[in-house]
């Protein structure tokens, strides 16, 4: 096959076909156009103001590394006047996060940005290693997700920074749209597609400047700029992406690459149809709900990807709903008139967690209620120390028995 030339400069050899429009671009034009498009996203949504201090949620992975590199480039090229820093979460997973934190530390040097690391251990008294030791590998992603959301906010608060940017890309947003559509969760559909999650309550604004960037282009951008990033599977949820909405998105991209941005646009359009009182019913209520959104999805840096088998679970639930509905029609008549009022009660109201003060729609926020459960079951070291006489006797008996078996064996 004869080498193609760049669609943009008509000179250099093309090295990429863009998923969104099938344009063939050379390395230099690709990097430049990718950056220009992120710049358009930023200026179009007026994400930043001059002099703003912005923390980049950095995991050491491809998305946040590319975000940091692009923001540094754009900040210098277009004089945004931003004061950028890296904010990392240490979940406390040995053999996983400690390695990727090394990458973030290198990035801090490469991009000349200060780095702040917030650990689950210091914030909650529990590292993920300890959580898993206690509850097992099943369901630990829920803890990690709930903890992460608050950790980023608290890290930002510690730095007195009011804006955190995350590396969520178009594939992530498309996946969220798909999940919320399948769930029929219209308010969340609206929040998930917003480029900014703003809130009066937490004072910390979240935004996703890479919202329209294809994951494929992010990875190729990192490759062609030879960025230093870390990629692995979380040891507690390996192969988490299997059987998830992620697979569906990737299969769709293979058939028709533009479908990812099409889904993002569809999500935005559908979100615009959500009645005002539900989509914007009080900024603060929205914020409280948003604060809990990411927790539900599990691994925040890989939004939804961690919930392997979620599609299967969803299918089962939909089937169950259908079955329930057909049963319902037979007895449904008397309850029908009550239904609207019944739904109204469920609208989330914003408040603060009684324990930690974090915004929450419940009396106690999710993180605190999870911690309560953990702390209740935490083995008390005191028990081990105060061995009663009885115990000691029984243990010596046991030891004697053991010695005997040992002797007979030899």
């Amino acid at each position: 096959m004869a080498p193609s030339t760049c669609f943009h400069c008509h000179q250099a050899r093309a090295i990429i076909i863009r998923p969104k429009n099938r344009h063939k671009l050379c390395r230099a034009c690709f990097l430049q156009i990718f950056e220009a498009e992120v710049h358009e996203t930023i200026t179009g949504a007026r994400l930043f103001y001059p002099g703003e201090r912005v923390a980049i949620g950095a995991s050491g992975g491809k998305d946040s590394t590319v975000l940091a590199a692009v923001l540094k480039t754009l900040n210098e090229r277009y004089n945004y006047g931003l004061d950028l820093c890296l904010l990392s979460i240490d979940e406390g997973i040995r053999g996983y996060r400690d390695d990727s934190l090394e990458t973030v530390k290198r990035n801090a040097v490469q991009y000349d940005m200060p780095l702040e690391i917030v650990g689950y251990g210091e914030l909650y008294g529990w590292t993920m290693d300890q959580v898993v030791e206690q509850i097992g590998k099943k369901g630990n992603c829920t803890y990690c997700g709930v903890f992460r959301r608050q950790a980023l906010d608290r890290g930002a608060a510690r730095l007195a920074i009011k804006h955190v940017v995350t590396g969520h890309n178009a594939d992530d947003v498309a996946e969220t749209v798909m999940m919320n559509m399948l769930r029929g969760d219209v308010p969340r559909l609206s929040r998930g597609t917003n480029i900014v999650t703003d809130s009066d309550a937490s004072e910390i604004k979240r935004s996703k400047p890479l919202k329209y960037a294809y994951e494929k282009e992010i990875v190729l951008y990192a490759h062609h700029r030879q960025l230093d990033y870390f990629s692995t599977e979380c040891i507690y949820s390996p192969e988490a992406f299997r059987g998830s909405a992620r697979t569906l998105i990737k299969d769709l991209e293979k058939i028709r690459p533009s479908s990812i941005l099409d889904i993002v646009k569809s999500g935005e359009d559908m979100a615009a149809l959500v009645p005002q009182e539900r989509s914007q019913g009080g900024k603060s209520r929205q914020a409280a709900a948003a604060a809990e959104d990411e927790s539900a999805g599990g691994c925040g840096s890989q939004n939804g990807r961690s919930s392997g088998g979620e599609m299967a679970a969803m299918e089962k639930q939909l089937a169950a709903n259908d079955a329930a509905e057909s049963r319902e029609t037979e007895i449904g008549h008397p309850t029908k008139s009550f239904r609207p009022t019944g739904k109204q009660v469920k609208v989330q109201t914003m408040g603060y967690c009684e324990k930690c003060g974090y915004i929450s729609s419940n009396r106690i926020c999710k993180a605190c209620s999870l911690l309560e459960g953990l702390n209740r079951n935490r083995p008390k070291t005191a028990i081990e120390v105060s061995v009663g006489i009885e115990d000691e006797e029984s243990s010596t008996t046991l030891r004697r028995q053991m010695e005997r078996t040992h002797l007979t064996n030899s």
Binding site: I17, S59, G61, S231, E233, F241, K250, K254, S301, Q302
Partner: protein, 111 residues
Amino acid sequence: MAQSAPEDGEISIAVEFTGGLELLFSNERKHNVTLPANLDDGARPDIAYLLRYLVDNIMQDQRKEMFIMEDNVRPGILVLINDADWELEGEEKYELQQGDNIVFVSTLHGG
């Protein structure tokens, strides 16, 4: 290229796994692969042939479906032929040349 000159009737290429894919290949990013220049049916080895070769000979990990699906690269894994997107080169039908550099990059792994 730090590759030894191939014997007659053979081509040698460099294969690289990144973005987390190296975990499936004994945690080694770079592999040198030598293939016959002509296959039994007279055809030249293409990417499809290379995929089968990698799964049968290089991949120790049992989770083949993390790399291959329906006899092709799993969606979400990018393939670069001499640094160019394989979509520009004919994808799995690209005929391998002596000294080619083939990179497989996973976009599926997180950070």
